[in-house]
């Protein structure tokens, strides 16, 4: 194994110093190996026919990890978080010695077990029993040690009924239970786990959680790759956030989870803005083509008033598609008159992506607003028909739980007759920073000042 053990660090510690790793482009695909034919053809082409053929020195290198340094003390557990392709699994493979770094130094002290992929190293045609024997030996136990622990391993994995059946008949959850049970019972100094626990059921995950806590109590080290940010704070002391092969930051699970979530939200906002622009276009086209004969599913009305644009803004007036539950939502509606209208009400509604109506309201419910709209907008400025007018509706705190929602916007008469009704066109997402459940996410306060006051009944 290409790891350098200096012996100066305590057992269970891991240190990465300026580790860099590149892959040749396409080196994970099935075409990485050259065949003699392609080599020969390459030679011939290079020699005579086409001197421009890519030579070996020109093969492009893809930087997977760039100058990664961090140190893990024995008995701590680290989570690696980051988007797909950020290099999390590569770090696990470097620590376990499956890959060798291009440059930099990796120091690993003590025995290492790795659960990098479900059933990696299991032989599908052999029974669970045989695979435990082989797997245990592979993890560095002697035959005797595996035999001694065999019953425990089977009992823990709860696979007593199927232990003599070939593992190819196992479900992915059973694979995971066997793999995890084996790994935890080989009692390594360092355990590397790559996302495989995700396939376990709640009961077994609880069991894993207990074993991992126990494992940590005994001063063993855990490195853990995950996308499930809630597990980061439950299982880990520290988190490393990787972004495109760099360490973005290292900190407590809470800090990293917050920073990571809001970064994802920013990213989504960026991509969603492009989508919004596209949506806008199609909607405009629709209204031009439709000309009063609008798409009945998402838009209807007699078009006396046209809602030309709807924007979803936060408290800083920035257009967004992903909001946190404690942010404000401002619905900015642009509209214009096509004919004279003296009877106008604006309505909005929030609908969850599965169709649940969260709430709906309109301007006629508030007398001051209702009369202001009638007096100011409708009567006075009516001579300038094509002028674009604006109205903003602000929800000071969104207070919705995590999910996708639509905003419905409508301009209609007091009778309910619609001029322009936009149904489930404008989409936004809500993120919450905690894991509370339900439909709403109100701002709640806990009062703990009287916990010990001992007030008598």
């Amino acid at each position: 194994m290409p790891k350098i053990s200096t012996g100066k660090n305590p057992s269970g510690s891991i240190e990465l110093k300026n580790v860099t790793k590149t892959f040749k482009i396409g080196s994970s695909g099935p075409k990485t190996y050259s065949t003699l034919k392609s080599t020969l053809i390459g030679l011939i082409k290079k020699g005579t026919v086409a001197p421009k053929v890519v030579s070996k020195e020109n093969i492009r290198q893809k930087l997977i990890l760039n100058d990664i340094s961090f140190k893990v003390e024995p008995g701590t557990s680290y989570a690696l978080v980051g988007r797909n392709g950020s290099g999390k699994s590569t770090i696990l493979k470097l620590i376990s010695g499956i890959y060798a770094p291009d440059s930099g130094q990796i120091t690993v002290e003590g025995s290492v077990s790795a659960l990098i992929e479900l059933g990696a190293g299991f032989h599908p045609d052999f029974s669970g029993r045989e695979n435990i024997m082989l797997g245990g030996i592979m993890f560095g136990l002697t035959k005797k040690q595996v035999e001694d622990r065999f019953d425990q391993i089977v009992e823990y994995s709860e696979l007593e009924d199927v232990i003599d059946q070939p593992v190819r008949t196992y479900s992915s959850g059973m694979y995971m239970r066997l793999g995890f049970s084996l790994a935890i019972h080989t009692d390594p100094d360092i355990l590397l786990v790559d996302e495989v626990l995700a396939v376990g059921d709640a009961h077994f995950i609880k069991k894993c959680h207990d074993s991992i806590s126990e494992f940590r109590r005994r001063g063993k080290t855990l490195i853990f790759v995950t996308h499930d940010l809630s597990s980061v704070s439950r299982w880990c002391d520290k988190a490393v956030w990787l972004d495109k092969g760099h360490i973005r930051s290292i900190g407590t699970p809470k800090e990293i989870a917050d920073a990571y979530l809001s970064d994802i939200a920013d990213q989504e906002n960026l991509t969603n803005k492009e989508n919004i622009a596209k949506q806008e276009l199609t909607r405009d086209q629709r209204s031009i083509i439709g000309n009063g004969n609008l798409d009945k599913k998402h838009r209807w009305g007699d078009n006396k008033i046209e809602i030309t644009k709807v924007q979803l803004l936060d408290q800083t007036k920035e257009e967004k598609a992903v909001f946190f539950d404690n942010e404000s939502l401002i619905i900015k509606v642009s509209f214009k008159f096509h004919t004279e209208v003296s009877d106008l009400v604006f309505g909005i509604g929030i609908i969850r992506a599965d169709g649940l109506e969260i709430f709906g309201t309109n301007s006629s419910f508030i007398p001051e607003i209702d009369s202001a709209i009638s007096n100011n907008i409708v009567s006075k400025n009516i001579e300038d028909l094509n002028k674009v007018r604006l109205i903003e509706i602000k929800i000071p705190r969104i207070s919705l739980s995590e999910g996708s929602y639509f905003v419905d916007v409508a301009a209609h008469a007091h009778s309910g007759l619609p001029y322009d009704y936009h149904h489930q066109i404008y989409k936004f997402q809500v993120r919450t920073k905690d894991r509370s459940v339900g439909i709403i996410s109100p701002n709640i306060e806990w009062n703990i000042s009287n916990l010990n006051s001992g007030e008598q009944n």
Binding site: M1, P2, F23, S27, S28, T32, Y33, S34, T35, L36, K37, T39, K93, S96, G97, I98, Y99, A100, V112, S113, A114, I116, E117, G119, A120, G121, H123, D125, F126, E130, M133, L134, I137, M138, F139, T142, K143
Partner: protein
Amino acid sequence: MFRILKELWKFRSLVSALVIRHLRARYRGSVLGFLWSFLNPLCLILVYALVFKYYIRFQEVENYTVFMLSGLLPWIWFSSGILDATSSISSGGSLITKAIFPPHVLPTVAVLTNMANFLLSLPLLVSLMIFYNIHLSIYILYIPVLLLIQIFFMLGLSFIFSSLNVYVRDIQHIMSNIFSLLFFLCPIVYPADKVPAQFSFTLSLNPISRLIINYQKVIINGVSPDFKDLLILASISFVTFGIGCLVFNKFRDQFAESI
């Protein structure tokens, strides 16, 4: 080289468990099971005997069938062992790419599994010898020496070919062609002394045919092996093993990302 030997020793129980697993996998699900260890060479020998003994009337060799078997069995070990080993790393799959696993175990297991098969088929040879009333001589005790020479020679070649085959997959196909030609260049279906003098270099330059000649000497001819041969063969296998380890160590770090 010592690093690889040390690691192989450290993982000896893994190697032996895998050899047993492979042996069992080979015959798992077949009705005759381990009998195939005898049946495979027996079928071959029946055809060869038919062709060379009765069609071509190659009658000058005493106990031709037994003679042929004594060369054929080490040859089968050699050729199928190297062939299995050559593709062992490139077809190692998740063991190489996703698990903490010493890669040199795989070619070693291929060599040793085929050796186990060789040993398991020896009873066939012995029973044929009893049938033809040929006595085993004391020189049969040299067989472990020959085994040891062959193991290290094969390990060396296996390390070279298995690591190169990760990068150039043609090697496994080239090897199988070379072996089917090499078979006839080895004194298996004909005795070495039938080779005309001007062609005798085909035998002397070929370590595996020298090895086979010595198997034949101790098993069927009942004479002492050629000690000069043994010494040369031992040095060749030692050097091959050393080169194999060097090549393997040079490439092993890249296996996981190249498969």
